[in-house]
Symmetry: D2
């Protein structure tokens, strides 16, 4: 553990299901590439909720919001209409004001990986979008899992 990365060992993988609807696909018959970022944000939101945090409450109480700072995503094979996807998320770094997530989008019923991403979000002030420290209560919750 360090100040820059006090990541707990054995952090569990958080899974969240996403169904592919027509809205998610494009004329190539596959999920449009930007939409995987929506799926991954849903998964991050639900992970926070699972830990006991509602983002509208965090915003009101702490004037804090998470803004995406960096995305590195590889597209491996195309997901299709009606697929039931499984978004698997874990965390690879907890910084002073950032959290780095690792996401994999998989088919629920198999080991196929459609895409995998490394996404760094920064905790920023709602006033000025300047970085602020990740709230202690979130750090505690991540360590308490």
């Amino acid at each position: 553990m360090s100040l820059m990365n006090d990541l707990p060992e054995n952090l569990p993988v958080f899974s969240w299901p996403v169904r592919v609807y027509y809205e998610d696909t494009d004329a190539e018959g596959v999920v449009y590439y930007a939409n995987y970022l929506k799926f991954m944000e849903r998964a991050r939101t639900e992970w926070l909720r699972h830990l006991g945090f509602e983002q509208d409450d965090l915003t009101q109480r702490l004037q804090a919001v998470f803004a995406v700072h960096h995305v590195d995503i590889h597209y491996l094979k195309p997901a299709l209409f009606n697929h039931l996807l499984n978004i698997q998320s874990t965390m690879s770094e907890i910084g002073r004001s950032s959290l780095t997530f690792e996401h994999k989008v998989m088919l629920d019923s198999a080991d196929d990986v459609f895409c995998s991403a490394h996404i760094k979000v920064v905790c920023v002030s709602t006033d000025n979008f300047r970085p602020k420290r990740v709230p202690q209560e979130i750090r505690d919750a991540l360590h308490g899992q």
Copy 2:
């Protein structure tokens, strides 16, 4: 002219081009039905801009924003990837706090109509989303066209 509908005669048709990209289509190979509402809002925004109004400025100066209250839309034939659409807009009613637009989505190079809609927007306060009078400067601009 009446208080409820002081629509100027001979209101021109405002045309705005929209190119169909992959983001707009779905796995049936056609424009996804909700996305025509995006195209029509772009056209309304550009019409206001053409009249001299920037919506961020209206919001700041007058604490007013236009919220969609009613949409009645008929889908006649599907638009396809790469089509260059022409969004034709006119106004069928100017109420105390509402504007009613008539939109047609056509192929730029022909008379085909992909869909046609009747959309009523209400001028609301940014504070409480309650209806407020359509600003006089917008009424004047519509009459001055």
Copy 3:
């Protein structure tokens, strides 16, 4: 019951939950008006699935797909980020080649209605987008509910 509208009596209301994420909202802080149409399509898709029909299977077996023909939607009050919505759907008409749905978007925990819509979908051939008869197996399933 008639040929044009053989709607079963006491057709149940189908409920489907939808969580509002950032992707669904706009800079006014509310759900963007076109996105309710996505929520309603998810609800129709899940109702068909609940009845035993997967749309990718229908498309492959019967060369049939449902295309939206008409939407009439009233927006009553704005839904917000993080709301857990309840999409309530029922059917008001079963035609030769069409189904007409009535949707209400409500807050899960209350009786507030955010918007209500009347949406007519037409069963069309995947070959030429021409109307075709709603498959008998879907009619039977709707009557058997």
Copy 4:
């Protein structure tokens, strides 16, 4: 020049304007992070069109389509509703079956950079989504600029 990277020297920067509408923003009042990927794809599409290529024609004639394989994107500051963005694109590598684009999203009237991305697209067969050689006519056009 090499087989793996026959990039012409002095490849020009292609600029494409994108207006930010409500559809592009979220409840934080800024452009939703996934939507920059839409803007960048519009810019790539328009660059190809500027070079003389229509993607629907490429698909029909050559059974080829470009699929995004890798995105590395940094978000530097948030773009806002009504901003007129300038998407600047250039190419950093031409591989056997891939093109790698470098995009910057800037404010039209200033030197602010909202985000910058490195996006690798692969030319794939429409039959099986397997990589195929980037068509010679596109290579020639890139060299002829």
